[in-house]
């Protein structure tokens, strides 16, 4: 993330100087900062609403039911999660909302899922495998119905806007499944790469934790 941030800022200034748009670049700092606060604040209301509803879903056992239903798939996707984790219900809700083109409702579900992933994450500043898998699913953006696109097409007088639904579905499925497969491949590669270092670390921390308890549980 450090390099990306550096690249975005520095390359913009250099390119801006060459293209004579340095003034626009500087102005965009102001407008960009303003836009980010607007985006965050526009989320507050809808976020509060769906977080409230999800709290009811959690307390009434709806989430647990969904989690149980999806366990065979999610066990493979998020293999480091404890079984029956409430995160699975949130993942399911996030996926459903995204698939239906309801991005505003999807974000609060996704954030709840990330919070659940964070509780079982060992390094709190580093993304876990589950988080990377979940983000892969989200950045690929599986959509059953591209609501916004259809609205724009209808608006400009496209005769049969629904004819793009099927091709969009094909493309979005290809991107979605390749994202999942790539996440699994990267997970495998990074695991085999740091297996030695991490196992040493884990052993040390295990000793530290289990110092006063019985040794040899594992």
């Amino acid at each position: 993330m450090n390099y990306i941030f550096y690249f975005l800022v520095v390359s913009s200034i250099i390119i801006g100087a060459f293209t004579g748009k340095l003034n626009d670049v500087v102005n965009s700092i102001m407008s960009g900062a303003e836009l980010s606060v607007k985006v965050a604040f526009s989320l507050i209301g809808i976020m509060a609403f769906w977080l409230g509803i999800m709290r009811i879903a959690e307390k009434s056992g709806v989430l647990k039911f969904i989690s149980k239903l999806l366990e065979p798939i999610t066990k493979w996707l998020f293999d480091e999660l404890p079984p029956k984790s409430p995160a699975i219900g949130d993942v399911a809700m996030n996926f459903t909302a995204n698939a239906l083109g309801l991005a505003n409702a999807a974000t609060p579900f996704g954030i709840r899922a990330m919070e659940e992933f964070q509780t079982s994450n060992t390094k709190k500043d580093t993304a876990s495998n589950s988080m990377c898998m979940f983000l892969a699913m989200n950045t690929a953006g599986f959509q059953l119905i591209p609501t916004t696109v259809l609205a724009i097409l209808a608006g400009i007088g496209y005769k049969n806007p629904t004819e793009i639904i099927a091709p969009t579905l094909i493309v979005t499925s290809i991107a979605f499944f390749s994202a999942i497969i790539m996440a699994k491949i990267f997970q495998y590669l990074s695991n085999s790469q740091c297996v030695r270092i991490e196992s040493q670390c884990e052993r040390k921390s295990n000793i530290r934790i289990s110092g006063d308890e019985e040794v040899g549980n594992e």
Binding site: S28, N138, T172
Partner: protein
């Protein structure tokens, strides 16, 4: 088929709401109290993601303002012509992962200048509808839990976008060319 899809889209949230609230009442959950407890976090989460959003959105705004997108588009357009890809869709491919509102603006632009039945419009519509704003999604979700080391998440997001573009071009070529 299309009516059915629209119907599902319209009824999904209402059905979810009714199901969750009814389950709550049946299980004797104090739904009003629990709702307000959950909703309290809405503000906290929104405020928490601001620093991450500022970093990403300012960086991307600067990048777009610098004219870098046009520069890359100029370099790439001869290559795209070989693959039968109209060059007016190129800015959309480049902006799609960076900015949602930007991509929407470019799409409206393509649709209005090329006309509703044009090949560019169809290709652009499929590309826009089948992908997400990768940088925004990463900033919001990782920001909400305070993750700064994102490992391979961005690489996957961008690779998936690239695969999406290739797939969109191929599908569009098959169906509409």
């Amino acid at each position: 088929m299309n009516n059915l899809l629209n119907l599902i889209s319209l009824w999904a949230l209402p059905v979810i709401l009714i199901t969750i609230l009814t389950c709550g009442i049946v299980k004797k959950v104090p739904i009003y109290e629990e709702f307000t407890i959950g909703a309290k976090d809405g503000f906290k989460v929104a405020v928490k993601i601001i620093p991450y959003l500022v970093a990403i959105i300012v960086g991307i705004s600067m990048f777009r303002a610098s004219g870098a997108i046009d520069l890359i588009a100029n370099i790439l357009s001869p290559i795209l012509l070989k693959f039968n890809i109209p060059s007016d869709t190129l800015p959309l491919m480049l902006v799609r992962s960076l900015s949602g509102s930007g991509a929407l603006g470019i799409f409206s632009d393509i649709a209005n200048t090329a006309g509703p039945e044009a090949y560019s419009t169809k290709l652009a519509a499929i590309m826009l509808g089948s992908s997400e704003t990768t940088f925004y999604v990463l900033a919001v979700y990782f920001g909400a839990v305070g993750i700064t080391k994102i490992r391979y998440a961005l690489i996957i997001g961008l690779l998936a976008d690239l695969i999406g573009i290739v797939a969109a071009v191929s599908v569009c070529n098959l169906l509409f060319a």
